[in-house]
């Protein structure tokens, strides 16, 4: 019989759904991710089933399931839903304990947060009104340039003279990019320009909450090396990023689930 509580965090994002099972809120047992698609409820259920399969567990083994992300209310069988802001703060802290600022760049929204020593969010700013500065912007870029989204980061690293993308709007930037191609600009320079444009948007948000070391990048774009480079060059400082950074929201949910459990048992 297990003595340590198993908690799950399910982060149903606009692009990808991430799930994690943690032991005692400190050790990752298993994680999984899949495309959210048009049905967040289905995505949440599948992500939970998948992470349980990977961990060799059943739903009955889980003491707590916390959901987060834009589809958090669609998670069937959840014990609680928590905002992605709170979860990314906790998740970033879990990955990098000295984090004070978190940049979360998702498919359809981006956020900058400042967190205290406990991973609590002190201040945050977000843009979820438009695709500028979010992953969807890069999707448009990849379409305009006819390259895979997954390759954009690597391509951008080859850039020696980044092209300035002056349009903020993703749709207008697409036309601008086509003009840059016509003018003979290199694909890698345009792609780096697009990453820098996203970096500028999110850094504007970060400045509003106050820049403080260490800065941790989370969300889907944390998996993009070009994004990391663009942010570091614009910020003039290193930022934390790990292989699991895209799971930060799910990690945070699982950690907070564990906190709830402890409070519950303390109250009982």
């Amino acid at each position: 019989m297990r003595s340590l509580a198993l908690t799950a965090g399910i982060d149903i994002g606009a692009g990808t759904t991430k799930s994690v099972v943690m032991e005692d809120g400190t050790r990752v047992v298993a994680k999984a991710s899949l495309r959210t698609g048009p049905n967040p409820e289905k995505a949440g259920a599948e992500a939970l089933a998948e992470v349980l399969r990977v961990a060799g567990l059943t739903r009955a083994d889980l003491a707590y399931v916390a959901s987060t992300g834009y589809g958090r209310y669609q998670m069937v069988g959840r014990d609680m839903q928590i905002t992605e802001i709170t979860c990314h703060g906790r998740g970033a802290r879990f990955l990098f304990p000295a984090t004070h600022c978190v940049l979360d760049i998702g498919a359809q929204s981006s956020r900058a947060m400042r967190i205290d020593g406990n991973g609590r969010v002190v201040k945050f700013k977000m843009n979820d009104r438009c695709a500028a500065g979010a992953g969807r912007f890069l999707e448009r870029v990849s379409k305009a340039l006819e390259v895979q989204v997954a390759d954009l980061g690597e391509i951008s690293l080859r850039s020696t003279d980044p092209t300035t993308i002056s349009s903020i709007c993703a749709v207008l930037a697409e036309s601008e990019i086509i003009n840059h191609v016509t003018e003979g600009r290199k694909v890698e320079d345009i792609v780096m320009g697009a990453h820098l444009s996203i970096a500028d948007r999110i850094i504007a948000l970060l400045r509003q909450v106050g820049v403080e070391d260490e800065v941790t990048l989370t969300g889907g774009l944390a998996g993009n090396v070009g994004m990391v480079k663009a942010l570091e060059s614009r910020l003039g400082r290193r930022i934390n990023v790990a292989l699991e950074s895209t799971f930060a929201g799910a990690y945070g949910a699982a950690v907070l689930g564990r906190v709830r459990l402890q409070k519950r048992s303390a109250g009982a």
Binding site: R129, R136, C169, V171
Partner: protein
């Protein structure tokens, strides 16, 4: 005497050839593409052909359009805001408020009695509420830009489009389709959303009758209907609405031409320059 006005828009380029009696004798419209000057020249030539004239017979050409980019075409350039106001004043002399919805921007202009600009504001920062927005919606629905206005008119139960960003609206439309909503109801919602944004822009300059609707999107009957409904008043539109900028430019060209000594009216040099063939200093006349 003949003059021309050429309006290079972000999406379409329009040219008008006008005689001394301010009658339009030739017009042309085509997509701008990557080369601004190339499109200007192409449409100018087409309009000349329709008028049965040659370049040397045109005394003055005014170029306009393309937001912040200046179009290096013709003898003089006038901003598209001035040109639209001038054109609207010519076709609808009682115009006091002008809404111009183009391919990539939307403008609200308060117009004086003589076609002068009293105030204006614009959205050229994002595609929301512009022709590009409509185009994106049409594409998602598998329709063309020319079809969506008519389709939207069949709606009996318009949907509310909640997003502003074009990219997000695309997803919103996909999810409406997935729920089995009717295309015409979605489209009516799209047109209403643009009308709402346009009217918000118009309020910033003040809405005074008459209201005239110009720009490429004014060809869309669904858009006209949505704007009327939102404004609760009639609006002026004409088949020439898309040419309003070029028309205004041609009217400015007449005024300029009338003030120029005949010896200095030369077009060849300007056209050659626009084609990139000659030095800018090679203009005719001394």
């Amino acid at each position: 005497m003949h003059v021309a006005g050429v309006d290079v828009g972000s999406t379409a380029t329009k040219a008008i050839v006008m005689d001394g009696n301010r009658r339009v004798v030739g017009k042309a419209c085509g997509s701008t593409g990557a080369s601004v000057v190339g499109a200007a020249n192409r449409m100018f030539q087409e309009a000349l052909k329709e008028a049965g004239l040659e370049e040397w017979e045109i005394e003055f050409v005014v170029g306009t359009g393309y937001g912040r980019y200046k179009v290096p075409f013709g003898h003089a350039q006038v901003t598209e805001i001035s040109c639209h106001a001038r054109g609207a004043n010519f076709l609808f002399p009682h115009t006091r408020t002008l809404v111009d919805i183009g391919g990539q921007d939307t403008k609200a202009i308060a117009v004086g009695e003589r076609g002068d600009i009293r105030d204006f504001c614009m959205n050229d920062k994002c595609a929301a509420g512009t022709g590009r927005f409509l185009e994106a919606c049409a594409t998602v629905l598998g329709l063309t830009l020319d079809e969506i206005g008519d389709v939207s008119m069949r709606s009996s139960k318009p949907l509310r489009i909640t997003n502003v960003c074009t990219v997000f609206v695309e997803s919103e439309i996909v999810s409406h389709l997935a729920k089995g909503e009717k295309i015409e109801d979605i489209l009516r919602g799209v047109h209403n959303a643009i009308a709402g944004r346009s009217v918000a822009l118009l309020r910033r300059v003040g809405i005074e009758p008459e209201v005239t609707f110009t720009g490429g999107v004014s060809r869309n009957l669904g858009m006209v209907a949505s704007l009327k409904e939102r404004l609760q008043c009639e609006i002026n539109v004409s088949p020439m609405s898309q040419y309003m900028g070029a028309l205004g430019a041609a009217l400015f060209a007449i005024e300029r031409a009338e003030n120029i000594p005949p010896g200095e009216r030369k077009i060849e040099a300007a056209v050659a320059e626009a084609r990139g063939g000659e030095e800018p200093g090679a203009h005719g006349g001394h």
